[in-house]
């Protein structure tokens, strides 16, 4: 199943998350948009951490990541990514 969610964060910026899920496991994760994160590579790393994770454990995966890596997000938090995947970020057709 493909889950695409977007959330508008501070400054009108878009945070878009695409997740492909099969029997509860994330097969593919793609985070895109016009937001700012420092260091930028953290987003590539988060995609890597989500891949293979249990879809019900997204929030934990992001929390663990934030514990071992200093990530500065501008106008949103990593929790927003979890909310989008959990479907509470508001869905929109792009």
């Amino acid at each position: 199943m493909e889950i695409i969610g977007v959330k508008k964060v501070k400054g009108g910026k878009l945070l878009k998350v695409l997740v492909i899920e099969e029997r509860g496991t994330i097969k593919e994760a793609k985070i895109s948009g016009d937001f700012f994160v420092h260091p930028e590579e953290a987003i590539d790393e988060i995609e890597g951490c989500l891949k293979g994770a249990d879809i019900s454990r997204v929030r934990e995966v992001l929390r663990d990541f934030a514990k071992r890596r200093t990530v500065r997000t501008v106008g949103f938090t990593l929790e927003d990514i979890a909310e989008i995947i959990e479907g509470r970020g508001g869905r929109a057709q792009l």
Binding site: V6, K8, G12, S32, F36, H38, V74, L94
Partner: protein
């Protein structure tokens, strides 16, 4: 007074432009170059994409191909920008040690945008900083800015729009979500130019010089026109290859 190295206005291709901004950031981070303001233009025209953007979502690739508009991905986040001969672009690089630029990201945008606001005001435009990373005149965006922090440096680059051929905005795919929110029906409705705001179009190189003065004032640095170093030149050679590569441009 510490010095601000200013790299005089030059027009380069999109890949060189992005490569040199990154090379300066590396060199400043290593301690090999002083605080630097670079002023530049783009030829051929290009769309620059934010680090996290999906190329096919943002760019009309057929439109760009037909008109010779290149596509380049930045190392900075933020949105897609169409760069034409009506734009003055700058990059500002300092060490990321909190001395010249606040470590807080949102505060630092305000600080680095201050000389641009001052420059537009000096020209007679009623400019305001619009958080997180824009400058507006009359409620419309005239300057967009994007920042990265890496190599121990802060790199912020951004645009100042002097004029715009709005027919070229077809290069950017309008995003339904964003437009709906702002209550406008087209990309062009959200942006303005100095030509429209001032009722005349100032000379690009003259604006570049004013901008350099204002950066010197805000950061209390003595402006000195200079050149790139051998180290930066060597870095650019390698980085141009990255920015030209399909892998980099189409990574999202």
């Amino acid at each position: 007074m510490e010095g601000l190295r200013v790299l005089r206005f030059e027009v380069h291709d999109p890949f060189y432009n992005m490569a040199l901004d990154e090379a300066i950031a590396q060199s400043v981070g290593e301690g090999g170059s002083p605080p630097t303001l670079r002023l530049y233009g783009w030829s051929p025209r290009a769309v620059s994409l934010g680090y996290f953007q999906e190329v096919r979502e943002e760019v009309d690739l057929d439109f760009c191909r037909e008109r010779g508009i290149e596509v380049v991905r930045r190392i900075t986040g933020g949105g897609a920008v169409l760069h034409t001969e009506g734009e003055l672009t700058y990059s500002f690089v300092v060490k990321d040690d909190g001395s010249l630029v606040p470590s807080d990201i949102e505060e630092s945008y305000r600080r680095i945008c201050a000389p641009i606001v001052a420059c537009i005001r000096r020209l007679g435009g009623d400019a305001f900083f619009k958080p997180i990373n824009d400058i507006e005149v009359g409620g419309k965006k005239v300057s967009g800015n994007a920042q990265t922090r890496r190599f121990g440096a802060v790199l912020q680059h951004g645009t100042l729009l002097l004029s715009m051929d709005y027919s070229l905005l077809g290069a950017l795919r309008p995003r339904v979500e964003k437009l709906k929110d702002k209550g406008v029906s087209e990309v062009g409705g959200r942006v303005t130019t100095l030509r429209e705001a001032l009722k005349f179009e100032p000379d690009r190189e003259a604006v570049a010089e004013i901008l350099a003065e204002e950066f010197g004032k805000v950061f209390q640095l003595e402006v000195g026109y200079g050149n790139i170093t051998d180290r930066e030149r060597a870095l650019v050679m390698d980085l141009v290859r990255k920015y030209r590569s399909r892998d980099w441009t189409f990574r999202r």
